[in-house]
Amino acid sequence: MTERTPLSFGAIERELGPLVERSWQSFAMPVLELRVDNLLPVVAGLRDRFDFALFLDVTAVDYPERSPRFDLVYHFYSRRHHQRIRLKVPVPAERPVVPTLTGHYGSARYMEREVHDMYGIEFAGNADLRPILLYEGFVGHPLRKDYPIEREQPVVPYRAG
């Protein structure tokens, strides 16, 4: 077993504080909120200085009434500290573009494709943003709150009667 070294929240704040807008703890998980421009430096810092070697997940949350409209939510896992961290990046609907993490983690390739499918957020630098769970020609982004759940877009037309 690898030795467990608890990661102090303070250490992250000291190292990455200037790049972070707001930080707090949620159910024992550190959460950092940051601007889009600071995403890549923060991710690089987490990976190189705190051994966040595993990029777990990326998804988005849609707040149609809010500006900026989307929150992009990343989760990482630190192998050395056995700890997870969450990054939140507000993204405006007018310009939903964030830099890709494919340069840091291979796993970003697929996961970013899904977010692109579901929310229409562009990942600048990800060369392969073809649909993944949806199909080519699908109109709209189904996990946006303004996409009605009953809308149907069949690939093959339904049989009459």
Binding site: F27, H75, R84, S107, Y110, M111, D128, I132
Partner: protein, 403 residues
Amino acid sequence: MNASPPIAAHLDRSADGGNVVVNIGPSHPATHGTIQIVAELDGETVKRADVHCGYLHRGFEKEAEHHTYHKVIPYVDRLNYCSALNNGFAYAEAVEKLLGIELTRRCIVIRTLLCEYNRIADHVTCVAASIMEMGAMTAFLYLMTVRDYIFEHLNHLTGARLTYSYVRIGGLARDLPEGWLTRLEEILVFTERYLERIHGLLDHNRIFIDRTRDVAVMTPEHALNWGFTGPTLRSTGLALDLRKDAPYLAYPELDFEVPVGIKGDNYDRYYVRMCEIDESIAMVRECVGLLSDGPVSVDDPRVTLPEKEAVYTEIEALVHHFKLVSQGIVVPAGEIYVSHEAPNGELGFYLVSDGTSRPYKLHVRAPSFVHMGGMHTLLEGYEVADVVPTFGSMNMVGGECDR
């Protein structure tokens, strides 16, 4: 009728003149689950592979936003339908943590027991399917017998073989039935006996070793980079296991090892799974020893239905029942990420509540999906005949991958 393919494979456009592009799937006997692998071949060698998933996408996350917290449970079961209980427990824990509910002791132990029991069934299914595709029909039938005994036994407990809907927010649907633990021990003994036969049939089998040893090899760094977790990551020798590293349920009390492989090839993935079954059997027995009497559900009016008897005789209980069923559980606003060590890897639920009775956002971190994102790296450079064993060793489950 003219139906166009859902995704244009970029290999069609860029394949070398001398290479051949072959479609494996989406509907192929070896792609249990529906997935398409577009492979560019130079002779027998896979030069490039493009893995397409999404054929089983049914909008789980969108549906969840329109259902009350309890009504999401049957959907959750249909993610990884080989180990539906593990999914349900991870989802329920996310909701329970937002509500601040402490489970009863008996519930924690039964959930842990069932997690490991379902893990046995999941691993057995994975090993059975992947060796059957290499022609080992006997081993396949032995393992399917084990799997079916477990599923029939879980049927006795929950009323369903695969999709159990057994978890409840704050507890379980019902307690263990009479005689269930006796039968459990019989099945564990039976499983051990059959696993010995599998070891005897496969471990030193020349054909099996030739097909799996040194095929789809990866280093721990490679595995981490591509987001592999679970037995696939551990086959590279890295002992990352959430049950040890971030223990949940009753795992801190259990004594178990984390088996790891040595080179991260298909053989190691087989062997790690077999060792994990041994550990799980021991853990199930430990859990039986930890079982104590008591209720399986918390007594919390926010989540627990009143006794049926009271619903029919007392107006307060009737109103309470009606409110819980029609309106659902109201979960305080907040966000949480809960992850469990599912048989395939890290299964995470990211839940955002806005203080109503439906999730504002429920995202699944599905290990199968992430694994498919890195699978092309394990196919490229190997023979086309290795595609099937490698794919089998990843244990992709379509329901979970495509959600």
